[in-house]
C-alpha cells in the first residue's frame, strides 16, 4: 500500500530529528506502529494507552452532544419560559444544536488546539513521544466549563493547566493533580467574577446583562444554576425528571445524570473506569447529604440560615445536580491522580463524595464543591496509598516474626 510505505519512509527519514515526535504522534494515529517486542514477553496484549484514552472519549461523546443541544435549549428557554412546558419537543431542534455548534464546538477546538500544541512543544523540546494523556483532558475541559466562558480565558487556562498541572511533573502519568481540574480551578480563581454568579451558565445571559446596564429594555436572561438557586434559598423550577435527564443549566457536559451513568456503565464494562471509585463517591456524597438532612430535620439549622437551602436538599437530589455525577465518573477515576490500590480507591472515592457535598453547602462564594474536593483528594491519594501499602508491608513483617518466634 502506497501510503503505508511512504509514511514508513518518512518516519525513517525523520528518525532522531527534533521533528520526530511530532511526526510520530500523527503517524501513530493512522497506523499502529511496526514496533516488535525485544527482551521480556514476546507477545503483548491488544490494549495500549491510546485505546484506553479513546474509550474514555467514547464515553464522553454523548455528554458532549447533549451539552450542545442543552446550550441552545437553555438559551431559548431562558428567553421564553414556555418552552420548558414540553421539553422533549423543544430540545432536539436544529436551533438548539446551532447554538451548541457556535458556542460549544469552539471550546472543544480551543481546548484541543492549545493543549495539544503545548504537548507537542514539550515533546519536541524534551525529545519524547507525544503522550496520550491530553486526549481525555482536552475533551473534559470544554465539558466542565460554563458555556459562556470566553475563549481567550480558556486558552490561558489550558496553557497554565497543561504546563503547571502536568508537564512540570514530567508529563502524562507523573502529575499529582488532575490537569482538567487544574484548568477549571485556574479559571475559577483567576476570573472569579466571570466564572461564578448567575450569568455565565446560559449562553447570552452576560451580554444581555451588559445591554441592560447600557440602557437596553430587553428582559434579563437568568442564568442561574439549581445550586445557585438553592444557595440563595430560592425555589427551583425544575422537575426531578429535568434534573436527572439534564435539561437544566450548568457546565456544558455535567447536566445529564442519565447520560453520565450510561458513560459510567460503559467505562465499567470495558474495565477502564474504576467502579470502586465511582460507587464510593456516590456513597460518600449520599452520606454527607443524609447528615445534612438530619441536621435540618433536627432543627439545628433553620430557614433563616443561609445554608438552609442546600442543606435541606434531599440527599439523592444532591447526586443529580451540579457536577457530582460527572466528577465521580470522569474526573475522580483518572488513574494517575487517584488512589492506586483497590482499598485506597474506596477511601478516596468516599471522601471525594463526602467533601463535595460539604464544600457545596458551606462554600459562601460558589455553591459547588466537586472539583475542589477531587483536587483535595488528588493531593491526599498518595497518602491513602501509603497507608494501604504499609498494611501489606506490616503483614510481611508479622509473618517473618511469627516464624522466628
Amino acid at each position: 500500500m502506497g501510503l503505508k510505505e511512504n509514511l514508513h519512509n518518512l518516519k525513517e527519514k525523520y528518525r532522531g530529528t527534533k521533528m520526530a515526535p511530532a511526526f510520530n504522534a500523527i503517524h501513530t494515529f493512522l497506523y499502529l506502529p511496526n514496533e516488535v517486542t525485544h527482551g521480556g514477553t514476546h507477545i503483548k496484549a491488544a490494549d495500549d494507552l491510546k485505546r484506553t484514552m479513546n474509550t474514555v472519549i467514547l464515553a464522553l461523546v454523548p455528554c458532549l452532544i447533549f451539552g450542545m443541544f442543552n446550550a441552545g435549549y437553555q438559551h431559548y428557554a431562558a428567553i421564553d419560559g414556555s418552552l420548558r412546558a414540553d421539553v422533549l419537543a423543544n430540545f432536539f431542534t436544529f436551533d438548539n444544536l446551532w447554538i451548541g455548534i457556535i458556542k460549544v464546538l469552539p471550546l472543544v477546538i480551543i481546548s484541543y488546539g492549545v493543549g495539544l500544541g503545548v504537548e507537542f512543544i514539550f515533546a519536541i523540546i524534551k525529545g519524547h513521544e507525544v503522550e496520550e494523556g491530553y486526549l481525555v483532558t482536552g475533551m473534559l475541559v470544554p465539558l466542565i466549563v460554563p458555556v459562556d466562558t470566553p475563549l481567550w480565558m480558556l486558552a490561558v487556562a489550558v496553557v497554565f493547566g497543561v504546563i503547571i498541572g502536568k508537564e512540570v511533573f514530567g508529563g502524562t502519568g507523573m502529575n499529582i493533580l488532575n490537569p482538567a481540574l487544574t484548568i477549571r480551578a485556574f479559571l475559577f480563581f483567576a476570573y472569579p467574577t466571570w466564572m461564578s454568579g448567575d450569568k455565565v451558565w446560559v449562553q447570552g445571559a452576560v451580554e444581555r446583562a451588559n445591554e441592560i446596564a447600557a440602557g437596553s429594555t430587553a428582559d434579563a436572561i437568568s442564568g442561574e444554576t439549581i445550586l445557585g438557586s438553592y444557595a440563595q434559598n430560592q425555589d427551583v423550577i425544575y422537575s426531578t425528571f429535568d434534573k436527572f435527564m439534564g435539561f437544566i443549566p450548568g457546565s456544558v457536559g455535567e447536566t445529564s445524570t442519565f447520560l453520565i451513568l450510561l458513560g459510567a456503565a460503559f467505562l465499567i464494562f470495558t474495565k477502564i473506569g474504576s467502579w470502586r471509585i465511582i460507587l464510593s463517591t456516590f456513597i460518600g456524597a449520599a452520606a454527607m447529604g443524609l447528615i445534612f438532612n438530619q441536621i435540618v430535620a433536627a432543627d439545628i439549622i433553620t430557614e433563616s440560615s443561609k445554608f438552609y437551602g442546600l442543606m435541606n436538599t434531599v440527599w439523592w437530589e444532591h447526586l443529580m445536580i451540579g457536577g457530582l455525577a460527572f466528577g465521580a465518573v470522569y474526573m475522580a477515576t483518572d488513574p494517575v491522580t487517584a488512589s492506586q490500590t483497590n482499598k485506597g480507591k474506596w477511601i478516596y472515592g468516599f471522601l471525594i463524595g463526602f467533601f463535595s457535598i460539604m464544600i457545596r453547602v458551606f462554600n459562601p462564594a460558589y455553591p459547588e464543591g466537586v472539583f475542589l474536593a477531587i483536587l483535595l483528594m488528588n493531593v491526599f491519594a498518595p497518602t491513602i496509598d501509603h497507608y494501604v501499602v504499609q498494611g501489606n508491608v506490616n503483614n510481611r513483617l508479622k509473618r517473618a516474626k511469627v516464624k522466628t518466634a
Partner: protein, 449 residues
C-alpha cells in the same frame, strides 16, 4: 498429605500451536553451545581451552564465586570455539560433537544412604548443581546456605508449555532417586506440585509433600506455589528444581552418566507440526526444528512466549529450556490499529477488544507491541493477573527508583522476573516489567547479599 493450591487471579493465554503428543528423536547436532549467560549471575572461569576433547559430563568452567560449582559439557566432542563479547566476557563455548557419545563415568549411588554433604559433593562433581536454583534473586542456589524448603513444580501453566505429565512419563525411578537425594539438602519439606487432573509420575513419589494446583497461569510458576505454601521472609532461602532436571540428576544417580538430553516441545503457529522432540541441552536450533519450522519473518524463542529468550535459527537451545516457540514477527503497521475493534488479539479489558466473548479461542499472536512505551498510567489491572500478596505496581516502581528499603519491604525477596511476565503482557504502558525486576534483584543481591 496433600494441600491444594487454588488461585483465581491470573490469565491463561491460549495460543495456536500446542505440541502434539508424539516424540521424534532428533539426530545428534554437529555443534553444541553452552552459554554462560543462561546461568544468571555466574561469572565463568574456564577450565577447557579451544581444541581439547571433552566427554559428556566433563566440566567446562566453574563459577568465580565458588570453584566447586562446575558446569558440564552436555556432549562429548571437541571444544572448537570460545565466543567472547565485550571485555572478553565468555558468551558461548562451542563443542563439535563426536558421532559416538562418550560419557564421563561417575559413581552410581543409592541416594537414601547419602548424607547431605555427600549429595552436595556428588552434584558438584557431576555439574548437576546448576539445576538447583534459589529464591530470593532467582539464581543458582548458594550451597553455603540452608534452604527452609525445596519446591518442584510439575505443572506448567505457561502459554503452550510442554506437558510435564507427558515428558516425565516412565521416569519414575529417576525422579524418585533424584528427589530422595535432593530432600537430603534441606531440613524442611520438599514440596511437589502437580496439575489438578494430572497423572504425573510425581504423584507416586515418596518422601515429599504433594500439592494439587488449580487455577490459571501463573499457578504453575514455582513462585506462585512458594507464596501460597511457604512464603519467603527476609533472611530465608528456598530452593527449587524443575522436574526435567530432576530426571538428569536421577539418571546420574542410577547410571553414573550425565545425560543432558530432554524432551523438548516445539510449539507455536510457525511450526508445521507442533510436537515433541528429544534434544540435548545446547543443541543447535536449526537441527532441532529441521523440516518443521516455517522460518519466514519468524520469532524463534528458546522457552515460552512470556519469559523465553529470542534465538536465531543458527542459535542454541537454552540450558534449562524444554520448549522452543516460533511465532510470527509483528513488524508491520496496522491501519487505525489503536482504535478499531479487535477480535484477533488477547486483551483483559473490553475496550473494543473482544477476546472476552470467546474465552476458549486459540489466538495466533505476533510480536507486535500493540502500542508504544509509556509511563505507568492505568492502575488496578496488574492485580487481576498477579496472585502473589504483593502490590505489583508499587514494587515495580520501587525497583525502578532503586529504594532498597522499599524493595525489601514490598516483597522483593519473594519475586522473580517470571512472576511479572503476565503483568508485562497486559501492561497498557508496555513497560518492561521482567527487565525491571531482574535488574532490581541483581542490585538487591549485590547490596543486601
Amino acid at each position: 498429605m496433600s494441600k491444594d493450591i487454588r488461585i483465581k487471579k491470573g490469565l491463561d493465554i491460549k495460543l495456536v500451536g500446542i505440541a502434539e503428543k508424539n516424540t521424534t528423536n532428533v539426530s545428534l547436532s554437529g555443534v553444541y553451545a553452552i552459554k554462560p549467560t543462561d546461568f544468571h549471575g555466574v561469572t565463568p572461569k574456564l577450565i577447557v581451552k579451544e581444541g581439547v576433547n571433552v566427554k559428556a559430563g566433563e566440566a567446562l568452567f566453574y563459577s568465580k564465586s565458588d570453584e566447586r560449582l562446575l558446569f558440564s559439557s552436555p556432549v562429548s566432542g571437541k571444544v572448537v570455539e570460545l565466543i567472547r563479547g565485550a571485555r572478553r566476557k565468555v558468551l558461548a563455548i562451542k563443542i563439535a560433537a563426536d558421532t559416538t557419545q562418550e560419557y564421563k563415568q561417575f559413581e552410581t549411588k543409592d541416594a537414601a544412604k547419602m548424607s547431605a554433604e555427600e549429595v552436595k559433593n556428588y552434584l558438584f562433581a557431576a555439574g548437576c548443581w546448576p539445576f538447583i536454583k534459589q529464591r530470593p534473586y532467582d539464581v543458582i542456589a548458594n550451597p553455603n546456605q540452608a534452604p527452609k524448603s525445596i519446591f518442584v513444580s510439575a505443572y506448567a501453566s505457561a502459554p503452550l508449555a510442554a506437558d510435564l505429565d507427558y515428558i516425565l512419563a516412565g521416569k519414575e525411578a529417576e525422579l524418585q532417586a533424584a528427589l530422595t537425594a535432593v530432600s537430603k539438602l534441606t531440613e524442611g519439606i520438599v514440596h511437589v506440585s502437580v496439575g489438578a487432573n494430572s497423572n504425573s509420575p510425581l504423584s507416586k513419589i515418596n518422601g515429599v509433600e504433594l500439592h494439587k494446583v488449580f487455577g490459571p497461569h501463573p499457578s504453575g510458576n514455582v513462585g506462585t506455589q512458594i507464596s501460597k505454601i511457604d512464603p519467603i521472609n527476609k533472611g530465608e532461602v528456598v530452593w527449587f528444581v524443575t522436574p526435567q532436571d530432576l530426571v538428569i540428576i536421577g539418571e546420574l544417580l542410577l547410571t553414573g552418566k550425565f545425560n543432558a538430553s530432554r524432551t523438548v516441545a516445539l510449539t507455536g503457529s510457525k511450526f508445521n507440526n507442533p510436537q515433541y522432540v528429544t534434544a540435548i541441552a545446547g543443541a543447535n536450533i536449526a537441527d532441532v526444528v529441521a523440516n518443521n519450522l516455517e522460518n519466514d519473518n519468524t520469532r524463534i524463542i528458546s522457552g515460552n512466549v512470556l519469559s523465553g529468550v529470542e534465538v536465531k535459527e543458527d542459535g542454541y537451545l537454552g540450558y534449562y529450556d524444554n520448549q522452543i516457540t516460533a511465532i510470527p514477527e509483528g513488524n508491520d503497521y496496522e491501519l487505525f490499529g489503536w482504535t478499531k475493534p479487535v477480535f484477533n488479539k488477547i486483551s483483559t479489558s473490553r475496550a473494543l477488544t473482544f477476546s472476552w466473548l470467546n474465552p476458549k479461542k486459540m489466538f495466533n499472536l505476533n510480536t507486535n507491541t500493540n502500542g508504544e512505551h509509556r509511563a505507568f498510567v492505568v492502575t488496578g489491572s496488574y492485580e487481576k493477573v498477579f496472585p502473589l500478596d504483593i502490590y505489583p505496581m508499587q514494587l515495580l516502581k520501587a525497583f525502578m527508583y532503586k529504594d532498597l528499603d522499599e524493595m525489601e519491604a514490598l516483597g522483593g525477596y519473594e519475586v522473580a522476573p517470571e512472576d511479572f511476565a503476565l503483568t508485562e503482557f497486559i501492561c497498557v504502558s508496555k513497560q518492561p516489567h521482567q527487565k525491571i525486576i531482574r535488574e532490581g534483584l541483581d542490585l538487591m543481591r549485590e547490596e543486601l547479599g
